[in-house]
Amino acid sequence: MSTLIDILLLSLMGITALAAVRMKSLFGAVMLTGIFSLLSALWFLILDAVDVSFTEAAVGAGISTVLMLGTLSLTKSEEKTSNHSQIIPLFVVFVTGGVLIYGTLDMPDFADPLAPIHTHVAPHYIEKSGAEIGVPNIVTSVLASYRGFDTLGEVTVIFTAGVGVLLLLGIGRRREDGDE
């Protein structure tokens, strides 16, 4: 029953991505990226990843779309047709895709409860984290306690990116204004 929902949703995602890639108007492509984020958030929700879905909706559909629209307001909004040969990129892409499809033949089935990913580390977190950390949400306890240094690294990455954006846009712009 839920297989039908999965297949319909994944097909919608594929169609949206295809349309976003083919769209010449960059505004239209950004709008379709927003729809794509909503769809992927919906798919994460179906797969029980509540926190991921929440983040994807706020970050993907919200912040990314606004950032891209802001960029478009400062640059051009129409894509020019490229006159390059498309054969080499298509060849590379199809070879990569073919290799990956060959790789999926060995992968465990979708939602297989005996897949290796479910047997190794996760049972420990599911059984013990309630007693060890005391937070009902397992994702929170792993993110903030068991893997706290990973999150610290993540914060460092975001800080670096923020500094980069400020250096690229904020400070240079202000100095130009001061000179004029």
Binding site: A20, A29, I63, H84, F110, H118, R147, G172
Partner: protein, 118 residues
């Protein structure tokens, strides 16, 4: 193996191919970043779909001891990846804005054309 149990992998590969093609074949820089986003999302979908257990519920502890929870580890990894991904997008878009200020265009061909004279 039949096509229903591997359909998610095929959509992941389709998304990956679309994003990869956009990154290497399209000249427009904003389009390249859109391709990068699609590529990223394909990886997210791959990870999250591996964590699903049939009949499982979201990994938030309940009083009932017989509850089956989905695997929380991919959720943690992807939560980090999404936030890092938006930082990357913001940095890339800032670079696009600066390139547009310096060259007056966001098409790769025209940027190469102008670079040839220096």
């Amino acid at each position: 193996m039949n096509w229903v149990t591997h359909y998610n992998y095929w959509i992941v590969i389709l998304l990956m191919m679309l994003g990869f093609y956009t990154i290497i074949a399209r000249g427009n820089l904003v389009k390249k970043i859109i391709g990068l986003n699609i590529f990223q999302t394909s990886v997210f979908v791959l990870f999250i779909s591996m964590g699903k257990i049939p009949g499982g519920v979201a990994p938030i502890l309940r009083d009932d001891p017989t509850t089956i929870y989905s695997n929380p580890l991919p959720h943690v990894l992807i939560l980090t990846a999404i936030v890092v991904g938006v930082a990357t997008t913001a940095l890339g878009l800032a670079l696009v804005v600066r390139i547009n200020e310096a060259y007056g265009t966001i098409e790769e061909d025209e940027i190469h054309e102008q670079d040839r004279f220096f």
